[in-house]
């Protein structure tokens, strides 16, 4: 899964800013935490759901129907690597049948040409492929998987051949931030109509690898100028969406468009979260789709109501003029860095803890990555063989 989904925005839709119960627009469906890649910035939690706990096809189909009834328009089929699910085509067909716009978020490794053709046939609307770098050797090193880059290029070609719209997701950090122009050129060459230049957001595995991923302030400043220049140069040819590195920001991002306001996330094991990192905040009570309907969870689950609206805020957020523009920033980041989930996101210059963010951003090392891996579980040989992902056709 990409490291940007927490920031996936619907900024083009008018927002009222009221604290009334909104209808969610997007559902992030984490179909599995299994993934052949080991990207050190993966936004999945450190404790990954095991395969045996994953929701079955029928439950996902019910979740999609409930989501559509609740107002959800788009479902992001993600993971882990969604291609690790043998029933991905059936799951996608069920989402399409529920009337949802279906977006496949894939690493490309484990999605065969046959699978992508079957997905197109059941109505898949859009494909997002992550690409780790414009240079093959570096890309494969970052992914922790030899041959990943070549497979990504091949699947991208197949996606375009099937006339599915393609987005390239490029997560940027100190190892590749100097090659933003090359990444956009690659996206254009692959036939993408959209590219996400997404600086790493420090949650999950990225938080663990923060010092190895953190770019310098000068690199970030140059990158911002370069993105503006690329937008002008490629205007009308490719949409360039940028996710800014918030450790160097003055104000926080309006994380997930506001807690419990625009989107929700269902984990492989069925927990319903306001954002994919929400489980990192200790003490929140999450409900599961196996026990509650999505509508009930959206309206009534303690986790969703914990930071909805503005009543939960403390100073400086509570009286801030920006409180309904950025909602105090990210709750997970506030908790991770200050220990208080109600605190202002410390990336905000108004936060009393802002100096801490500057200190943390200054800690940069070239230490080897801690790759994202499923915890070793003792399994019988037959169970282990079932764990493997399908190998690509080509």
């Amino acid at each position: 899964m990409s490291a940007t989904t927490n920031n996936r925005g619907y900024s083009h839709v008018a927002s009222s800013g009221s604290t009334a119960l909104h209808k969610p627009l997007g559902l992030l469906a984490e179909l599995t935490h299994r993934c052949p890649l080991g990207c050190p910035y993966c936004s999945n939690p450190l404790a990954l759901d095991p395969r045996d706990d994953e929701l079955d096809t029928a439950t996902w189909a019910r979740v999609f129907k409930e989501a559509a009834a609740l107002g959800v328009l788009q479902v992001h089929l993600s993971g882990g690597e969604p291609g690790a699910r043998r029933d991905l085509v059936d799951i996608t067909a069920a989402a399409n049948a529920a009337g949802l716009y279906t977006n496949l978020i894939t690493s490309a490794v484990g999605v065969t040409d046959k699978t992508i053709a079957a997905l197109a046939a059941v109505g898949l609307d859009h494909v997002q492929i992550s690409i780790q770098d414009s240079e093959a050797a570096s890309a494969d090193h970052i992914a922790g998987y030899d041959g990943a880059f070549a497979r990504k290029r091949a699947l991208a070609a197949e996606v375009v051949r099937l006339e599915l719209p393609l987005t390239v997701n490029a997560v940027m950090h100190r190892a590749n931030i100097e090659r933003i122009g090359e990444m956009v050129d690659l996206a254009l060459a692959l036939g993408a109509t959209r590219v996400e230049i997404a600086h790493v957001q420090y949650y999950g595995w990225a938080l663990k690898n923060r010092a190895s991923l953190m770019p310098t302030q000068a690199q970030v400043a140059r990158a911002a100028v370069e993105v503006e220049e690329l937008r002008r140069r490629h205007h009308g040819r490719i949409v360039i969406d940028a996710v800014v590195p918030d450790y160097y920001a003055r104000y926080p991002k309006p994380c997930v468009g506001g807690w419990g306001r625009r989107s929700l996330n269902v984990t492989p094991a069925g927990k319903v979260l306001p954002c994919h990192a929400a489980e990192s905040i200790t003490g929140l009570e999450f409900w599961n789709v196996r026990e509650h309907s999505l509508a009930d969870t959206w309206a009534n689950s303690p986790a969703f109501n914990a930071f909805r609206g503005t009543d939960w805020m403390q100073e400086p957020c509570a009286s801030c003029a920006r409180r309904e523009a950025d909602f105090g920033g990210c709750r997970c980041q506030a908790f991770a860095l200050t220990g208080d989930a109600r605190a202002a996101d410390p990336v905000c210059q108004l936060s009393p803890d802002h100096a801490l963010v500057k200190e943390l951003a200054a800690v940069q090392t070239d230490a080897p990555y801690i790759y994202r891996r499923q915890a070793a579980v003792l399994r019988t040989p037959s169970a282990r063989s079932k764990e493997e992902c399908p190998t690509p056709d080509s």
């Binding site: 996936r8 619907y10 839709v13 209808k23 627009l25 107002g71 609307d125 719209p165 109509t193 009308g236």
Partner: protein, 96 residues
Amino acid sequence: MSDPTAAIPADARPRLPRGVRLTHNEAQGGWVLLAPERVFKADQIAVEIVKRCTGEVTFGAIIDDLANTYEAPREKILADVTTLLRTLADKRLLEL
């Protein structure tokens, strides 16, 4: 930034590309244009224009149809529709 008022050829056949859909949603209170990881609310005028972008009807015929349907001056319709379609095309939400 390209010129949003640049003329569109009368024989162009604007259409929504695959991955862009106009849909009505009760829960969200109206029409929305769904695109890759983006959602746009569409007002009634935009809906009437985008609905006609089927890839089969020419731009000239769309303008004629809208001018007739809404009994509005053709020049005004032409200017408004050109701006909307150019803006959508720049965002890769429409093919001209």
